[in-house]
Symmetry: C2
């Protein structure tokens, strides 16, 4: 019997890749207007390299970008970029009626959980801005920084199961990443739903670990495993 549905956050409950790309592009445009000595294409390319090298939670992406093209740090350009990035992100992180409605229906029949990699404050800021705090609170939200293990570490997934007296086979896991979400979920005998969103949506499929595939979150309501219950 299915008792719970566990959701990943980024690129599962909101289009993280798309929002981030929009914010980065506008930030780069604002920086060029403020004196970044690069054209748009080369600046975006270099920014992506910096993010790949330093990781997405590094705080100095724009500093490095300005230093690279202008040969020195210029806080006027850097913080024009930082401001624009945050302004755009803040404008985009709004409740999505389709997501809220889907979670509302599911919450009447299943326990819902959030299992996400990231920094506690950053993830909670997103949860609140997206209005997902209607469904998720401290007890049913598992954030890697707080738990101490990152995906695909099974200890992160087991923490959720053990704390809630759940077995893997009683859970559906919904996520966008095969390696980090679906392989560990399947190892614990969960039913897995791959959502084809964001930069990993083109990754090769793996039928051994992916039970269902959807493009939008509301398609969950049509899956036999959920519909027939």
């Amino acid at each position: 019997v299915i008792r719970a549905i566990i959701f990943d956050l980024d690129d599962t409950l909101f289009p993280s890749t798309s929002f981030t790309e929009t914010a980065r592009k506008e930030a780069v445009k604002a920086m060029i207007q403020s004196g970044l000595k690069a054209n748009f294409e080369e600046a975006i390319k270099k920014l992506k390299e910096i993010i790949k090298e330093k990781g997405s939670n590094y705080q100095q992406h724009f500093n490095e970008l300005v230093k690279y093209f202008n040969k020195k740090e210029d806080p006027r350009i850097i913080f024009k970029g930082v401001m624009t990035y945050h302004n755009i992100k803040t404008s985009l992180l709004r409740p999505n009626p389709k997501v809220i409605e889907t979670l509302f229906y599911l919450s009447r029949r299943f326990k819902l959980f959030l299992l996400t990699d990231g920094l506690y404050a950053k993830q909670w800021d997103k949860i609140v801005r997206l209005g997902l705090d209607l469904f998720f609170n401290e007890d049913n939200t598992f954030i890697s920084e707080k738990i101490g293990f990152k995906k695909p570490d099974l200890r992160l997934f087991k923490e959720l199961l053990n704390k809630n007296n759940l077995k893997g086979e009683e859970c559906i896991f919904v996520g966008d990443r095969i390696e980090k979400d679906l392989i560990p979920a399947k190892k614990l005998n969960m039913i897995t739903v791959r959502i084809l969103k964001g930069k990993y949506s083109k990754d090769k499929d793996d039928e051994r670990v992916v039970d269902y595939k959807i493009k939008e979150i509301d398609e969950l309501l049509d899956l036999d495993i959920i519909k027939d219950l």
Copy 2:
């Protein structure tokens, strides 16, 4: 001969106290709506105590507030407060035409400098949002975190003078705080202007260190020392 005007930032070039109080009040209201077990007055009182105890750059004011009244941390309430605080602050930190115009006139006759206590990233975020990056760049902006000394440490003020081959008597200092701005400025023989803004505007005056008093920044243009030059 007066060659330079040095400005403090918070409560000199923008009403920091007023913006912060507005943002805190709205944050507390949002937190109460989300389940903070307190009434508005007691929540504001407790928040002020926490800020006084931990300092204004401490990151966990709202966590402590929720823990105090609800006996446990609740991220839904905490981050509703954090989000509201930042939304309000961001909306208020906009260019002020009167300040921009005043600085524009002054910049035609004097070198302008900014000398401010605070975190580098936080101060630069404010400078850019306020549009003050029209006048201030890395070279004429001195931020305590970057320099390594805080007001009223004279070494912070001397760093500015030495880097720009200026003598104290060639400078006007404009700030809101007697202890942190005007006493050290006067020790270095600067002409001092006290701006009566924010929570320190009611502090007792000290004629030994305060040469001029103004309420709004554009009154600078009417001071004999500036007008007659």
